[in-house]
Structure formats: structure tokens, C-alpha cells
């Protein structure tokens, strides 16, 4: 009896959590008359890819298609990932492998800067982007997201670097490898899985971001996907079929990446708490 109640509650939670995602995908596969019918269909009775075809082949504004926005977003996100991964790896090596005077201060600063409300930085960063002449360019976003993703990336990578036994590097050094060689041939391959996990977080940060992309980009051809979605689909009289198809295409990469790394997310965010 108690077990039934628990399982029932579990099913309710699962329904509440997963339903919107299901409804997004299911709507994207329904023909328009089914979407706008008086009685909603729980599953698509005549599944169709017409909405996907519409957004992938049509132009949202003359000369710019959904794919262009997708590529803008991908370009920004991948650039952020590469830069932030590289810089974070260097910093993580420093704090995980060396004992130096400012080490603790740096670690505390990493925690503190993660508490800064990024929403409060839109105005000063807008000023900086204007002064640098980067307004309306994708590098303005790469730069911004680099700053946002770096503290968490260093924090997370630190653990991965520390987990590599120091003896391996020492053995390599005894065998005559230089510092650079040890780093490249020993440490880097062993930290690579951690770097992938960290990169996925930076990717998601950059891929999902809306406010800064909304503010720094004025030229429609340079919109990232989130801006394009709020701009073209967030208006009244919405045609929900293409909107849900676009949302699905935007969401799927994130969900896949996210599920690959979610375990580390929890341990990263509450790491300080458990250790006390």
C-alpha cells in the first residue's frame, strides 16, 4: 500500500517534470490542424516533419535562415569552449599542482566571483563592448561568455587535475621529459575527460545565454539562436508548430550534453558544503 503511494507520487513527479519537454516534441510533429484543434491530441495522430522543413528551408528574414542563427550560436559557443578550456586548464594546473602564496586567495576569489549577479553587469559590459568597437559582432559575446564560464571551469577542472597521480609526472620528468612535454604527453591526456565535461558546461552557458546576446547584437544576420527565437517567435499570434520545432532543435543538443555531465554539476556546485 505504502509502496503504491510512493510509486504514484513518483509518477506524478515524473509527469510534471517531463511533460513540457514531451509536449514540445509532440507539438513539433503534429500537422497544424491538429495543433489548433479544439481538443488537444495527446500524441500526434498524423506525425509530420513539415514544421522542421519549414524552418530549415525557409528564410526568417531575407537571406537569413534558421541554420544561420544556429551556426552563429554554434560559433560563439565553440569559441567560448575552446578559449575557456585552455585558460581554465592552465589555471587549474597552477592551483592543483603548486603551493604558492596567493593560492588560497585565488580559490576564494573564484567562489566569490561566481556569486556576482551577471544581470548587473550588462550595462558596464555594454560600455566596454562599445569602447572596444565590438558592438554588433559575435566576438563581443565570445569575450563575455568567456568571463562567465571561466570561474566555474577552473573550479571544476581543479579536481580533475588533482586526481591525476603526481607520480606519473615525476616519472616522466625522471625519464627526461621537459615541463612542456610532461604537460602535453602525460597530464593532458589524463585530464582530457574532465576537460570534456568542463567544456560541456561552458558550451551550455554560452548556448543558452539571452540577455547579453539581446543587448550586444543589433544586426539581425548576427543574431544567436536565443535572440532569434524571442524576436521571431515570441510575438503575438504565434504559429506554434514551427516554434516548437525550432525549440526542439535548440533544446536537444543541450539535453544530450547535459545528461552526459549532470553528475559533476551537483558535486561541483555543492562541493564546499559536503566537505564542511
Amino acid at each position: 500500500m505504502k509502496k503504491v503511494a510512493l510509486n504514484g507520487a513518483g509518477l506524478l513527479v515524473a509527469l510534471f517534470a517531463a511533460f513540457p519537454v514531451y509536449w514540445m516534441i509532440s507539438t513539433s510533429l503534429k500537422p497544424s490542424r491538429e495543433i489548433f484543434s479544439a481538443t488537444p491530441q495527446p500524441v500526434p495522430t498524423h506525425p509530420t516533419l513539415e514544421h522542421y522543413r519549414e524552418i530549415l528551408t525557409g528564410n526568417l528574414i531575407p537571406g537569413v535562415s534558421f541554420l544561420d542563427f544556429f551556426l552563429n550560436s554554434a560559433l560563439v559557443a565553440v569559441s567560448t569552449v575552446v578559449l575557456s578550456g585552455l585558460v581554465a586548464l592552465l589555471a587549474a594546473t597552477a592551483v592543483a599542482r603548486f603551493r604558492f602564496k596567493l593560492r588560497t586567495s585565488f580559490l576564494i576569489m573564484l567562489l566569490v566571483v561566481q556569486m556576482i549577479p551577471l544581470e548587473a553587469l550588462v550595462i558596464p559590459l555594454f560600455l566596454m563592448i562599445q569602447r572596444l568597437g565590438l558592438y554588433n559582432t559575435l566576438p563581443s559575446l565570445i569575450l563575455t561568455y568567456l568571463g562567465f564560464s571561466l570561474p566555474f571551469a577552473v573550479w571544476m577542472l581543479r579536481g580533475f587535475v588533482a586526481a591525476v597521480p603526481k607520480e606519473l609526472e615525476e616519472a616522466a620528468a625522471i625519464d627526461g621529459a621537459s615541463r612542456a612535454q610532461t604537460f602535453r604527453r602525460v597530464l593532458f591526456p589524463l585530464v582530457a575527460p574532465g576537460l570534456v565535461a568542463t567544456s560541456i558546461f561552458s558550451f551550455i552557458t554560452a548556448w543558452n545565454e539571452l540577455i547579453f546576446a539581446l543587448t550586444f547584437i543589433n544586426d539581425q544576420g548576427s543574431y544567436t539562436l536565443p535572440v532569434a527565437m524571442t524576436f521571431f517567435f515570441g510575438r503575438d499570434d504565434t504559429n506554434w508548430g514551427p516554434v516548437m520545432a525550432a525549440s526542439t532543435l535548440f533544446t536537444l543538443p543541450v539535453i544530450i550534453f547535459f545528461l552526459l555531465v549532470q553528475r559533476r554539476m551537483v558535486s561541483g556546485l555543492v562541493a564546499g558544503a559536503v566537505k564542511g
Binding site: K3, L6, N7, A9, G10, V13, A14, A17, A18, V21, W23, M24, I35, S37, A38, P40, L90, A94, V95, F98, F100, F106, M115, P117, E119, A120, L121, V122, I123, P124, F126, Q130, R131, T144, G147, L150, V154, G176, S178, R179, Q181, N208, L210, I211, P226, T230, G234, W240, S247, F250, T251, V254, I255, F258, V266, L269, V270, A273, V274, G276
Partner: protein, 328 residues
């Protein structure tokens, strides 16, 4: 890259111990340098700059570019904001919304965490995967889907309310035809739906963290308490909660910080920055700064106020943790 070809003995021979130590000492700083530069320029400098900007009247992009004078107004922007009765509305919206969302997220998240801990293996995996889906969904698309669910013609909720027996619907709400009903028009309903969207998106993190905490607590304690006949309510408050107190502390602070600066969900749900009655601090700051006519100085002042409130929240938390450590 001469170091690559150097034989270590030769290098060791050339470096006196003192020189060698100095070189070793400098390396970590060199490795840190790029990260320090980026954090300094992209996070710390803007944080200082937003305070500076809040003391000036900045109403055009040309001022930002440095082509025009920056007239100093001292605390003028702050007195403008604080003397405007609208600020009270915004502050009330922000605080009530954050309080309600933190409470609901924590309660729902904790309950789901406890539930996941009690479910059978297969069921727990299934429920956790579904919960993970809500977490993984980007705030943007999650909000768009909820907007579609609350669509005033073909939305699921509109259909559900239309499906109610007319008598019941009339008796409860005074209407039976819900087609065309603007779910987002009254501020209270808007906030209720925004709360639904935000809680849906943020409870999974709490649930998973609480579950992780529960797994780290030896289950003997719970079993012993249960054998002694303690009710689940008592077990939670007497055993689970005290053991997980640090985790709950962090989760509450993180939730508070997140819920105080909700932006994306509100922006998408309201369809932009026009819906002033539902403004909260983050979107208020943004709208003042970027909706024409731009008022960057005023927006910056609001951003500073938001940051200060969050600073106080964080400060309270740090004090709480320190006091806790003193006691133990």
C-alpha cells in the same frame, strides 16, 4: 623552445638552487595570469564600473563611447529611484517572488529528493531521468513551451478549463468560456505562472543535491529512528535536516541568488520589457538602461541595488556558517 631539447642534468647543472627555486615559484603565477586577466577585466572591472556609472547621468550611447561628457550627479540616480513609488512596487515584486520561489523550490525539491531515496531502483532511475529533463531544458525553450501550454486559444490549460462543467466553472470563476482568456494579463496570475515555470526549472537541482546528501548519510540512523517509532516528519527534522544542514544552507543561498535575478523566463513570458506592473529588479534595471530613451546611469544604480541585496543575502549566509562552526 630550447627547454624541449635540454638534457635534464645539463639544466640542473646550470641552475643554481636559488635560481631554480625562483623559476619554480614563478610558474604557477604565469599559469594563472590569463585567468586572472580575464576575471579581472570581464567580471571585476565591470562590477566596479557599474558603481561608477550609477553616479553619472548617462543618456546616450555616445557618452558610453566617450565622445561626450559624463555629467556627475552624485547620488541623484539613487534618490530618483528611491523616491519613485514605482520602486516600491518593483522591490515588493522581487522580494515576494524570490521568497515564494525559494520556499516552493526547496519544499518540492526536498520532497522529491526524499522520495527518490525511498523508491525502488528502477522507479528511482525513471523518475530521476524525467526530473533531469526539466533541469536540462534551457530556460528559454522551457518558458516558450509553458507559454504554449497557457496559450489563450489552443493551449492545454485553456482547453482544461473549457472542459470543466459549465456550472462548476461559472460558480468558481464566474465564466465558462475560457477561449481568449489572457492568462498573463493580471499581475498576480502572471507571477503565479512565472513561479510555476521557475520552480519547474529549479527543483531538479535541489532534488538531486538533497538525494546526493542523503546517500552520504549512514542509513542506520534513519532505520534506528524508524524502529523506535519516530514519524517521518520527526525523522526528517531531528536527523536528516541537522545532518544535511550545510547542504541546505548552500542550496537556499544559491536558490535565493538565482530567484532574485530571474530575467530570461520573465522576459520571454512577458514578451519583452513592456509589462511594467510585473517588473522585478533585474528586468527593471535592464528596461531603464536599454529601452528608449536609454538611461544607463539609472539602470546602473538599480543594478547596484540588486547587487547589494544579494551581497546581504550572501553575508547572512556566511555569518550563519561561521556561527555554526563556532558552536561545533
Amino acid at each position: 623552445m630550447s627547454t624541449l631539447t635540454e638534457v635534464p642534468e645539463a639544466a640542473a647543472a646550470r641552475d643554481t638552487p636559488a635560481r631554480r627555486r625562483r623559476r619554480v615559484d614563478r610558474l604557477p603565477y604565469l599559469l594563472l595570469l590569463p585567468a586572472l586577466l580575464i576575471i579581472g577585466v570581464l567580471l571585476l572591472w565591470p562590477l566596479g564600473q557599474v558603481v561608477v556609472m550609477s553616479f553619472y547621468r548617462l543618456n546616450s550611447v555616445r557618452q558610453l563611447r566617450g565622445d561626450r561628457e559624463w555629467p556627475w550627479v552624485g547620488l541623484g540616480n539613487y534618490t530618483d529611484i528611491l523616491s519613485d513609488p514605482f520602486f516600491l512596487t518593483v522591490l515588493r515584486n522581487t522580494v515576494l517572488f524570490a521568497a515564494a520561489n525559494v520556499l516552493l523550490t526547496m519544499v518540492l525539491g526536498t520532497l522529491v529528493g526524499l522520495l527518490l531515496n525511498r523508491l525502488g531502483r528502477k522507479m528511482a532511475t525513471f523518475v530521476a531521468s524525467c526530473v533531469m529533463l526539466a533541469w536540462a531544458t534551457p530556460a528559454l525553450t522551457g518558458t516558450i513551451v509553458w507559454k504554449w501550454i497557457f496559450d489563450d486559444t489552443s493551449g492545454l490549460v485553456t482547453w482544461l478549463f473549457n472542459a470543466l462543467p459549465d456550472g462548476l466553472s461559472n460558480g468558481l470563476f464566474g465564466r465558462s468560456d475560457w477561449t481568449g482568456y489572457g492568462w498573463f494579463n493580471s499581475p498576480l496570475l502572471f507571477f503565479a505562472i512565472l513561479t510555476l515555470v521557475v520552480v519547474w526549472h529549479s527543483f531538479p537541482f535541489i532534488a538531486v543535491s538533497v538525494l546526493a546528501g542523503l546517500k552520504s548519510v549512514p542509513s542506520e540512523l534513519h532505520e534506528a529512528a524508524r524502529v523506535d517509532g519516530a514519524s517521518p516528519w520527526r525523522v526528517f527534522w531531528k536527523i536528516t535536516f541537522p545532518l544535511l544542514r550545510p547542504v541546505f544552507g548552500i542550496l537556499i543561498v544559491l536558490s535565493t541568488i538565482w530567484d532574485f535575478k530571474v530575467f530570461t523566463q520573465q522576459f520571454v513570458l512577458a514578451g519583452g520589457t513592456q509589462d511594467r506592473p510585473t517588473f522585478m529588479l533585474a528586468i527593471y534595471s535592464y528596461a531603464e538602461a536599454f529601452s528608449p530613451p536609454p538611461k544607463y546611469g539609472l539602470g546602473a544604480a538599480i543594478a547596484v541595488i540588486l547587487t547589494l541585496i544579494l551581497l546581504v543575502v550572501t553575508g547572512f549566509y556566511v555569518r550563519m556558517v561561521l556561527r555554526q562552526e563556532d558552536e561545533s
